[in-house]
């Protein structure tokens, strides 16, 4: 009973927490965009880049998949300061988490690219398309479709990673929740339940949206749910 009263009390802080959660969404957008662009490039270099570029892409992927997210955040935020360059927390967090996500996304895209039968590339080249054109018009449109289920997994993972940015002083939801707790320790439990609920909503909405995208771009005659294959 007392606990529910606390929830009521947290209600006072709710507008502040929700406003702060928008910062998480902004960071999410930035890091996903960086991750998507670089991740696609890294995947393409790993598959088509030849020895030198391919090795570079594997090195990049290895580095950013190996270093813990918090360590990356600190490196990107406090690192430049060491050389007299000040960097805004939002930019530092976007880059650190974006590069990290790009390494994970690259492997989702590489798997998708490699799942496309070689005949598709061969047919495109036989028409006289350059490799880059074939990638753009034939390979990537198919690969992105195949990548959606894996990508929604990465999405669910990085949504939550945005809270780590509180460690580099970004005014996002976690930081505000901690302020509430520091001011009034007995509200801690209720506050973090609110934060948890916010992320349940984020993850649900994001995955629902990705489900829509998947259905919208489903290739007729292929990948249809509920057809014979699904029942076997």
């Amino acid at each position: 009973m007392e606990f529910f009263l606390k929830l009521g009390e947290v209600g006072r802080y709710l507008p502040m927490l929700l406003r702060a959660s928008l910062v998480n969404l902004e960071l999410l957008g930035a890091l996903l965009a960086i991750g998507f662009l670089i991740g696609t490039l890294v995947a393409l270099l790993q598959v088509y880049g030849g020895r030198l570029l391919g090795t570079g892409a594997y090195l990049y992927e290895w580095v950013f998949r190996s270093i813990p997210a918090l360590v990356l955040l600190f490196l990107f935020y406090y690192g430049p300061a060491r050389f007299g360059v000040s960097i805004k927390p939002f930019l530092a967090a976007s880059l650190a988490l974006g590069f990290r996500s790009s390494a994970y996304q690259s492997q989702i895209f590489r798997g998708a690219i490699q799942a496309i039968p070689t005949g598709q590339m061969v047919a495109a080249r036989a028409l006289g398309m350059s490799r880059i054109r074939a990638i753009r018009h034939v390979i990537l449109p198919q690969a992105f479709r195949l990548a959606i289920p894996g990508w929604s997994n990465e999405f669910s993972s990085v949504v939550k990673d945005t809270t780590l940015a509180y460690a580099v002083t970004l005014n996002e939801i976690m930081r505000h929740a901690k302020i509430v707790m520091d001011n009034q320790y007995d509200l801690a439990m209720a506050t973090f339940i609110v934060v948890a609920l916010v992320f349940l909503v984020f993850t649900y909405s994001g995955n629902a949206l990705l489900g829509q995208v998947e259905r919208r771009f489903r290739i007729p005659g292929l990948q249809m749910p509920g057809t014979q294959g699904a029942m076997l």
């Binding site: 028409l127 006289g128 198919q142 007729p220 292929l222």
Partner: protein, 251 residues
């Protein structure tokens, strides 16, 4: 008259095995050449060497006065002039029949969308698939897919078309519709090289037949001669076997 296509002494080796051991032939404009021979004798590899989907180790290919095999050749430009029809169609699975056919004209030849669309619809009509323009490959039968892929090749207005066993992946009842389209093309004067096991087609459509075995041309000549009086015992043996296998061939 100069030949449209000239293939000179093509060699290709995969590891230890030499798949092509020096193959040469020429093709005139408007000619249909059919290549027959047992599986694994390099017929498909030879076709792929012509537009360098496979790089030959040695030898030269000339198309209409341009050396395809020259290191300085603009291979994309040359490939745009050579249609290629694959055994398993290789239609772009994410595109409708219409988009499959107009992709090349738009993205390789730089044609405007309206123009490419009109052309693509025309080519689809030519292969009898006007009503399937908006279908995706997975919604089409094998025979229909292969006809779309022929339309895709035609839309590039190629100087010649290479057919790599175009009916080998089809159910028997679907072979006829694809062969009909090819027979029509030959009649219209399209220059074609066809690798096939369809002896009836070879007999009735080919201007010349090439019999290949173990990476070399064993015998070549007009179909009447090759079918009724083969000079080489291997040719006779192969024709006897394939007739047994595929039943009596009409034509």
């Amino acid at each position: 008259m100069n030949p449209l296509l000239s293939v000179e002494d093509i060699h290709k080796r995969y590891g230890k095995e030499e798949v092509l051991k020096g193959v040469s032939f020429q093709l005139r404009k408007g000619e249909t050449k059919v290549i027959i021979g047992p599986s694994g004798t390099g017929k498909s590899t030879l076709l792929r060497c012509i537009n360098r989907l496979t790089e030959p180790d040695r030898g030269r290919v000339w198309l209409d006065g341009v050396e395809v095999t020259s290191p300085k050749a603009n291979i994309n430009r040359i490939r745009a002039q050579i249609g290629f029809v694959f055994q398993d169609f290789n239609l772009f699975t994410h595109l409708t029949a219409l988009d499959n056919v107009r992709l090349g004209p738009m993205r390789v030849l730089g044609m405007r969308k309206e123009e490419a669309t009109a052309l693509a619809l025309e080519e689809l009509a030519r292969v009898g698939l006007s009503d399937k323009a908006n279908s995706y490959p997975a919604q089409l039968s094998g025979g229909q897919q292969q006809r779309v892929s022929i339309a895709r090749a035609l839309a590039m207005n190629p100087k010649l078309i290479l057919f790599d066993e175009p009916t080998s992946a089809l159910d028997p009842e679907l072979i006829g519709e694809v062969l009909e389209v090819m027979i029509q093309l030959a009649k219209e004067g399209m220059t074609m090289i066809v690798v096939t096991h369809e002896m009836g087609f070879a007999r009735s459509v080919a201007d010349e037949i090439i019999f290949m075995e173990k990476g070399v041309i064993v015998e070549q000549g007009p179909p009447e001669q090759l079918f009724s009086a083969p000079k080489h015992p291997r040719t006779a043996e192969f024709l006897r076997k394939i007739t047994e296998l595929y039943g009596g061939t009409e034509g």
